[in-house]
C-alpha cells in the first residue's frame, strides 16, 4: 500500500483469549512500584 503501512503483527482478537495463565510477573513486582506497567511485562508463553 502506498498510503498506509502496518508496522506490527499484533491482533488482539487472535491473541490468547482464554484465562491468562498467571505465570508472568505482576505489574508492581518490577521496576515501577508506583504505576500500572502491565504493558511492560513479558508473556511467559511467547518466550522462546
Amino acid at each position: 500500500m502506498e498510503h498506509i503501512k502496518t508496522i506490527n503483527k499484533a491482533d488482539f482478537k487472535k491473541s490468547i483469549t482464554g484465562t491468562g495463565c498467571g505465570e508472568c510477573q505482576v505489574s508492581c513486582q518490577t521496576a515501577s512500584k508506583v504505576d500500572n506497567t502491565v504493558i511492560n511485562q513479558k508473556c511467559e508463553k511467547s518466550k522462546k
Binding site: 508496522i7 508492581c28 518490577t30 506497567t37
Partner: protein
C-alpha cells in the same frame, strides 16, 4: 478506538481495539481527521469535498480506498470484542505474588517517600523470620496451579533486615520441589547497606533488582538524603556499580523519581546511563498534597514535553549503537501480554498482595496502613477472600472512562492506589496520570518503531 499522533516526522495511528499500529501519509492522516473516529458517519464524497483544497480527488479516493481495506481486515476502526472475558471466574486469580515489607524502617528519609519515612505511619518494625515463613506458606497454599511465584523484598529498606531476607529465600527454595513451584525473588534497595556479601547473595538469588537513584548528584541529593539530611549519591553509586559489574546478564533496573523542580529528567536518565547502567526506569512523584514538589497539573505540559524529549534522545542513542533499555518504553508491539492480563489491570488485591512486618495483608504496598484495604493477617491465618471482589471489578470495562479510552489495552486501567488517593475512589482514573500514561504509550510505540526500523 482509533488514536493518531505525530512523532518526529511520522504519523502514527493506533487501532486500540485490535492492537494494530500503522504509519500513514499526510493525506490519510487528514482523512482520518475528518472521519473523527467514526468510519461510517461520513461518506467518501464528504471527505473529497472537505479536503478538496488540499488534495486531488484521485489521491483522496486512493487513500480512502486503502483505509477501507485496512478497516475490512479488522485493523482499523475495529470493535472491542473482549468484554465477555471480564467474568468473575476469569478475573479471580490465585494469590501468586507478594510484596514482603520486611522492614518498616529506613536509613534514609527521601522527601517524596510514600511510606512516611519507611514506617508507613505505623511505627518502625522489622518482620520476624516466622512471619516471613508464614507468608511464604501462604503464597504456596493460595497460588493454585500457578508455578512461578514472586516475592519482592520491600520496605522501608529491606537490607535493614537482611538476615530475614536470606533465611526467607532459603526457606522458599526448600519448598520448591515438593510443591512444584519456582520462586522469583526481587528486591528494591536504596543501596546504603550494600556490601560484598549482600551483593553476592542478591546476585545469586534475585531474579530482578531495583536500585533507587534519581540521577545527577545535585538532583539525587536534594531528596534522597539520610536521616541526618545528607545526600546519598556518593555512597550508593559505587555500590550499585559494583553490584551491576558482578551481575552478569541478570535483570536489574536503576530507578529514579522526578519531581516538579527537576522536570528535565532526560538529563538524569542519560547521567545514569553514563554511570554504566543500561537498564533504567524513571517515575514521577505523584503524591498530591503530601509532597510539596509533587508533579501537578501546572507542570504537566512540561512533563509531557520532557517525555518526548527523552524518547528522542533514547532513539538517537540506540541508533548510534549505545544500547540503552528504558523500562517505561520497553513494550512489545507485536505480542506482549495476553488480552486477559491487559484488561484485568495490575492485579492488586487479587494475584498480588502486600504483607507488613506484623503480618497484615493489604491489597498492595501503596495502601499499607489504610484500614479499608486490609484483607487479613498472616499470623492469625485470616484472609478474607470476599475482599478481593472490589479489586476484581477494577478492569477497564468496569471503569467508564477506561471503556472509552483508546489506550485501555496498553494502560490496563492505571494504578488503583493512585486513583484512590487522588480521586477518592479506586474506580476513578486519575486524569493527570492518564495523560502522562497516554504520552508514555505514544512514546513507547514511536520508540519501538524507530529502533526496529526494519519494517
Amino acid at each position: 478506538m482509533v488514536h493518531k499522533y505525530k512523532f518526529r516526522d511520522t504519523n502514527f495511528v493506533i487501532d486500540g481495539n485490535s492492537g494494530a499500529i500503522h504509519i500513514v501519509d499526510d493525506i490519510s492522516y487528514d482523512i482520518l481527521d475528518c472521519l473523527d473516529g467514526n468510519f461510517f458517519d461520513y461518506t467518501e464524497n464528504y471527505i473529497v469535498k472537505k479536503l478538496a483544497d488540499k488534495y486531488s480527488k484521485e489521491k483522496i479516493k486512493e487513500a480512502y480506498g486503502e483505509i477501507f481495506k485496512i478497516y475490512e481486515s479488522g485493523k482499523l476502526f475495529s470493535s472491542d470484542t473482549h468484554e465477555n472475558l471480564a467474568t468473575e471466574e476469569n478475573l479471580n486469580s490465585p494469590v501468586k505474588a507478594l510484596c514482603l515489607n520486611v522492614a518498616h524502617d529506613c536509613n534514609m528519609q527521601c522527601k517524596y517517600c510514600f511510606a512516611s519515612k519507611g514506617d508507613f505511619g505505623c511505627g518502625r518494625e522489622l518482620m520476624s523470620l516466622e512471619t516471613a515463613k508464614k507468608a511464604i506458606d501462604f503464597v504456596v497454599q493460595n497460588s493454585g496451579s500457578i508455578r512461578n511465584l514472586e516475592i519482592d523484598f520491600f520496605g522501608g529498606e529491606p537490607l535493614m533486615n537482611f538476615e530475614v531476607v536470606k533465611e526467607a529465600v532459603k526457606y522458599a527454595r526448600s519448598l520448591e520441589k515438593e510443591y512444584d513451584k519456582n520462586f522469583r525473588f526481587t528486591i528494591t534497595t536504596n543501596g546504603i547497606l550494600l556490601d560484598d556479601d549482600k551483593i553476592d547473595f542478591i546476585n545469586k538469588e534475585m531474579f530482578d533488582i531495583v536500585l533507587s537513584l534519581d540521577g545527577r548528584r545535585e538532583i539525587n541529593d536534594k531528596y534522597r538524603v539520610t536521616r541526618g539530611g545528607v545526600g546519598t549519591y556518593d555512597v550508593v553509586v559505587p555500590r550499585f556499580q559494583k553490584l551491576v559489574a558482578k551481575r552478569g546478564n541478570k535483570n536489574y533496573y536503576v530507578r529514579g523519581t522526578y519531581a516538579k523542580d527537576n522536570i528535565k529528567f532526560s538529563d538524569d536518565v542519560l547521567h545514569i546511563y553514563d554511570l554504566g547502567f543500561k537498564h533504567i526506569s524513571m517515575e514521577p512523584a505523584l503524591c498530591g498534597d503530601k509532597f510539596e514538589s509533587s508533579i501537578t497539573e501546572e507542570c504537566l505540559d512540561e512533563v509531557l514535553k520532557e517525555q518526548e524529549n527523552l524518547c528522542n534522545k533514547l532513539i538517537d542513542m540506540n541508533l548510534s549503537g549505545r544500547d540503552v533499555d528504558f523500562f517505561n518504553f520497553s513494550i512489545d508491539i507485536n505480542e506482549g501480554p495476553c488480552i486477559l492480563k491487559r484488561l484485568k489491570g495490575c492485579g492488586c488485591g487479587n494475584d498480588y498482595v502486600a504483607v507488613t512486618p506484623n503480618g497484615d495483608i493489604y491489597s498492595c504496598h501503596q495502601v499499607v496502613g489504610e484500614e479499608k484495604f486490609k484483607m487479613g493477617n498472616i499470623n492469625s491465618g485470616t484472609f478474607d477472600k470476599k475482599r478481593k471482589k472490589p479489586f476484581l471489578n477494577t478492569t477497564i470495562y468496569h471503569k467508564e472512562k477506561c471503556r472509552e479510552c483508546w489506550a485501555k489495552f496498553y494502560c490496563s486501567g492505571g494504578c488503583t492506589a493512585k486513583n484512590y488517593f487522588n480521586c477518592g475512589s479506586i474506580m476513578d482514573p486519575y486524569d493527570l496520570a492518564c495523560r502522562m500514561q497516554k504520552k508514555k504509550i505514544e512514546c513507547a510505540v514511536a520508540y519501538q518503531f524507530y529502533i526496529n526500523q526494519n519494517y
